[in-house]
């Protein structure tokens, strides 16, 4: 039986097991929205801006391990997703964006709401498609989801001209994808793994640097077994946080620009550095010649292009982290490295993070530490971008695997709230915490309306320092305290704002109010918001200035 393209898209989504999509209707996708109610297994979450659809679908993918979907109209609908797509590309998050476009007859004529979105997104997608024939819809959907969700994940965009939604053909779901040029390597090369094991067995001062790839590979048990067998200290990249339990004695925090001093010392002084599912990003390495200068680097990553891109690698292993670590663990010898871990422990005692204390005015480290304590390090935490993001990396102790959702690579402000919505949709029945700054919150705060409508249990900790805090910090430290346009002279009343959207909101200006608000927010059945008022003068330390090695920190 022949069905039209709109039904084919929906049937394809059903075939792919998609149960949640984030979107906003508009002219070119109305045929699709017209039939969507006939597919009750697909829950459509109506967001208030397409960027939020992309952020939410991205976070949904990260939280569920599946491929999220954003559905938007042509032109501005499509271009509004661009920041979300670029963000997912940088953080290797695999989701699919479905865009409508003008009818094929109109395309190329600058028609209303026409945009060459495949051209626009070419450099920021893992792959993209402009479907040219109604018969191409089903195979394209299958291919797109396969590409988005395998190998090094990444966003895939499918642009469908409006007329195809109305054209009819037989629905044929392909049994397999035919992509001769796309064969991600999953299993690591045996010889490389053997060589890596030899290097690790010969190490006196090894360090594991575990990244986001551990989480995408769901290799938490494998990482734990590997680290414990050879007793190797584990340090995370920012996005690698929650790949290893923070309460574990081998855990030594986060590396990099705002990493813990002892973590940065450990990486700088190690003799073997095992980078797992990470890409030696500049916020991790800072000044390259001073990065792990004594170390032989073992680099495990699923993307061959990451090997040797930024640092010289002694032993590369291309493959999926989980199976690679399984083989590697078999071949590494039990070891103690007690002198070395003792040394890092000494660094930790001598260079601890600033102790968070309950003070008035409130400070963000304490706000996050208390959240970490009351949720026992077990919450799903989305963050926005800036100071609070780094403090979340330092003071939230993630004990649950895959619990941090943040815009690491692109650093896209406005990510936090839509991401928390995506996480809440992916983890029904669980609270989804959003730690936000006032700057980032105001970039996507319209999503409070989405929250109020869906009643998803997103709990917002809005840390309001009346400032673009990280910019303020840079201007303070790097630009001789010349504070230019980073402080807000006037803000809305966030309690009234939350209430206006229908979100119960409490303001906290001292520790008692904050503890009370935390309790109320957790008890609220649906969404809730806490505005915690802090000072713009607080800086995130340690901090490594540009052009310095990671061991050269401003510590306080």
């Amino acid at each position: 039986m022949k069905i039209n393209g709109a039904h084919i898209v929906c049937k394809s989504l059903v075939q792919l097991g998609v149960d949640t999509i984030f979107g906003i209707p508009g002219g070119t996708v109305l045929d699709l929205y017209d039939v969507l109610p006939q597919y009750p297994q697909i829950n459509h979450i109506l967001v208030r801006h397409e960027q939020a659809a992309a952020f939410a679908a991205d976070a949904y993918s990260r939280a569920s391990g599946r491929v999220g979907v954003a559905l938007v109209t042509s032109g501005p609908g499509a271009t509004n997703t661009v920041t979300g797509i670029a963000n997912a590309m940088m953080d290797s998050s695999g989701f699919v964006v479905l865009t409508g476009n003008q009818t094929q007859a109109m395309m190329g004529h600058d028609a209303f709401q026409e945009c060459d979105i495949t051209g626009v997104t070419l450099p920021i997608t893992k792959h993209n498609y402009l479907v040219e024939d109604v018969r191409g819809i089903a195979p394209t959907m299958k291919e797109a989801f396969h590409i988005a969700g395998t190998g090094r994940r990444g966003p895939v965009l499918i642009d469908i001209p409006k007329n195809l939604f109305g054209e009819e053909t037989n629905f044929v779901w392909p049994d397999k994808v035919d992509l001769p040029g796309y064969k991600p390597t999953r299993i690591g090369h045996a010889r490389q793994i053997r060589q890596a094991a030899e290097v690790i067995n010969g190490a006196q001062r090894p360090v594991i640097l575990a990244g986001h790839g551990v989480i995408y590979s769901q290799a938490y048990q494998q990482l734990l077994a590997f680290a414990e067998k050879a007793n190797i200290p584990v340090i995370n990249t920012f996005l690698g946080l929650s790949s290893f339990p923070a309460s574990h004695p081998l855990f030594y925090g986060m590396v990099g620009m705002h990493g813990m001093a002892y973590a940065n010392f450990a990486v700088t002084n190690c003799d073997v550095l095992i980078g797992i599912g990470m890409r030696f990003d500049d916020r991790v390495t800072q000044y390259l010649p001073a990065f792990a200068p004594h170390a032989k680097i073992v680099h495990i990553d699923i993307d061959p292009a990451e090997i040797g891109k930024n640092v010289k690698t002694f032993t590369p292993i291309v493959g999926d982290v989980a199976p690679v670590l399984e083989s590697l663990t078999e071949q590494v010898e039990k070891a103690c490295h007690c002198e070395w871990t003792g040394q890092i422990d000494r660094w930790r005692r001598e260079h601890p993070l600033t102790a968070p204390t309950p003070t008035t005015p409130l400070t963000t480290p304490w706000l996050i530490k208390l959240l970490s304590d009351v949720t026992r390090g077990d919450a799903s935490v989305s963050t926005d971008v800036g100071q609070h993001q780094m403090w979340a990396g330092q003071y939230y102790w993630f004990n649950r695997p895959n619990a941090l959702f943040s815009a690491g690579g692109l650093g896209a402000m406005g990510f936090g709230l839509p991401a928390a919505i995506g996480v809440a949709a992916a983890r029904p029945g669980e609270d989804s915490w959003a730690i936000l700054g006032d700057g980032g919150f105001m970039m996507t705060m319209q999503e409070l309306a989405t929250l109020a409508e869906t009643q998803l249990p997103v709990k917002i900790l809005l840390i309001n320092n009346n400032s673009l805090g990280m910019v303020h910090q840079w201007q303070n430290i790097i630009y001789k305290n010349n504070i230019v346009h980073s402080d807000f002279k006037r803000h809305p009343d966030f309690v009234k704002l939350g209430e206006a959207f229908g979100i119960p909101t409490w303001r906290a200006t001292n520790p008692d109010e904050y503890e009370c608000a935390l309790r109320k927010a957790a008890e609220a059945p649906g969404p809730a918001m806490i505005e915690a008022v802090t000072l713009a003068s607080e800086n995130v330390y340690p901090m490594v200035r540009r052009g310095r090695g990671i061991a050269e920190m401003i510590e306080a």
């Binding site: 893992k126 040219e132 992509l179 001769p180 090997i307 493959g319």
Partner: protein, 173 residues
């Protein structure tokens, strides 16, 4: 002297592939001396030859990044392999009636051909390696070069080794 690398890539013949490759080179700031794309013995496969400036660009990265383009099937660096390397150039040179014979003699020495003759100009068509074309250009320059078009280098390894579909093995790490 910069070290040129000649890469041969086989691509699925789909809309927009060239766009993807060019976009990749631009955004990764890869320095490319020439790039040509054309058909192959199979209608569903195109062949691209890229001459990379190995002095300023990490050729290994170019190859790995090319493999990340979904439609790229195979990339080989043929620089070190014995290969036939050739390009075609059309050179329109000023030629008065009295100069025609001289130019024709040059053309003869270079085993290329005169593709067109007009009242005051000739088009010389030459195929060969970069050196040969550069040498001919140097000799033609005194007459006055009015216009030139070059195809860019294409390359094929000598002997029995081939870059064919059945060879399109998994992308190694």
């Amino acid at each position: 002297m910069k070290r040129q690398h000649i890469l041969v890539a086989l691509l699925q013949n789909r809309a927009g592939v060239l766009n993807r490759v060019v976009s990749l080179f631009r955004r990764r700031a890869f320095n490319i001396d020439s790039l040509t794309v054309g058909r192959t013995e199979r209608t569903d496969v195109s062949r691209m030859t890229v001459v990379v400036d190995g002095e300023n660009t990490d050729v290994e990265q170019v190859i790995k990044q090319l493999y990340k383009v979904i439609e790229v099937l195979k990339v080989s660096d043929v620089t070190a392999d014995p290969s036939v390397i050739s390009e075609l150039a059309l050179i329109k040179v000023t030629a008065s009636v009295s100069q025609r014979a001289e130019i024709a003699a040059l053309v003869d020495v270079f085993r290329c051909k005169v593709a067109d003759v007009a009242a005051d100009s000739m088009i010389v068509e030459v195929t060969g390696g970069e050196d040969k074309i550069e040498n001919l250009l140097n000799l033609l320059r005194p007459y006055g070069i009015k216009e030139m078009a070059r195809t860019g280098t294409i390359a094929m390894t000598r002997g029995a080794s081939v870059s064919r579909m059945h060879e399109l093995v998994e992308v190694a790490g």
